[in-house]
């Protein structure tokens, strides 16, 4: 079996879940690296080079709000879901459950409860 093919197919599968994974962690203020660590602790792998630009894009799409904290010795940019972001996250969560149900039906032949 072609290892690199499996790898690229799997990473394509995961790519679609990245935004949902990020949004799920954004109910409290987080800066880029802390979010990376939180996700890692939950065994969700996302590359730093993907995550940082993604946060910025989500902000420009009006889903996240941000704030610079310059009180510490290291300035940090904190991100947080805004009102619209919370709605978007809820809708995406529903969509995710629907997809899981449908996929399980396809893969296992019966719906999960």
């Amino acid at each position: 079996m072609d290892e690199s093919l499996i790898q690229s197919l799997n990473s394509e599968l995961k790519r679609g879940t990245q935004i949902l994974a990020v949004l799920s962690q954004m109910n409290e203020m987080k800066y880029g690296y802390s979010l990376l660590q939180d996700l890692e602790a939950k065994h969700v792998e996302i590359e730093a080079g993907t995550l940082y630009p993604l946060l910025r894009r989500l902000e420009s799409q009006g889903i996240l709000k941000s704030e610079w904290d310059t009180t510490e010795s290291r300035p940090r940019k904190y991100y947080l879901l805004n009102e619209e972001g919370k709605e978007v996250f809820d809708l995406m969560k529903k969509e995710w459950h629907r997809i899981v149900k449908e996929m399980n039906l396809l893969l296992e032949g019966e719906p999960t409860k």
Partner: protein, 336 residues
Amino acid sequence: MNTNLIERYIYDVTRRLPETSRSEVTKELQANIDDMLSEKPTDAEIEKVLIELGDPRILANEYRGTKRYLIASEYTDDYLETLKFVLIIFGSISLVFGLLDSLKAPEASGLFLTILEVLGEVLANVFGSLCQGFAIVTLVFAGITAWRQKGGKDTWGIKCLPPLPEKQKIKISRADIIAELIVTLIFGITWIYVLINNASIIGWYDDVDGWHLLAPLFTGSVITPLVPLFVLSLALSLVSSVVKLGAGHWNFWVAGIHTLEQAFSIIVMFVFIGQVGLFNGDFIQLAADQLEQTPAEFLSALTAGIRGFFTFLTVVIGIDIIVGWTKAFKGQKQGK
């Protein structure tokens, strides 16, 4: 700690971004990198983090959000196909006109130098117009892509579907090729035979006391070195016929060898008629006397006539070459 490395990395990312977002991304990236490092990082640690962040080009692309293309990927096929077509047309046209132009009045004297001069000029000409064709097609497609990225839409509809191609491949008639082959062989071999034996075959004859040759048509010392060129040209024609017979229909190989063969034969003919002192002086004298002209007048009229004829022939062959490529293209499309 080697902050220089981090600054250089950040610069390499942000220089690819629009100016409006540069300072913000710089600050953010600096903060993120600092977070990933310990209080007093070693150079090795910095390198590790930068490698983790990856190629600045890719990171910049991620920050930009939208990917930028010169030619949008959905147009790549159309672009390449148009490019091929335009390049072949531009190449053929400039080949034909370049040949005509440079063969009209080669400055170099001597066979070898003339060939070099003609080849050089024609190649430069062809290269120049290939570049032009490439630039025009690329600009047009880049324009379409830019327009699409600005939100322009050409909505696809059922009407956009192309008609089905005709099922038949463009066949090469075997009978035609065999007839062509026989004619080429007969004429080619006769012509080469004549050239080799010029002094004793064609020329000005006198029938006093039976036929005997007064003056041969060509100057033997001028035409003898050219014989190998004609042999080569004939050999190319044979190869071309065999390839056509083997393929049975027009494809790029056939069109290529056809172009080579035809172009070579016309070059050889022009080299031949471009020779200084091609015609034997005695022959010209005899013919001019007969027509009550001076030899110089007769020779220039003869040369002009021959050049005119071959110029016409070159245009015909040029068209024939383009037709060959068109058939090859159609054949290839239907083969898909």
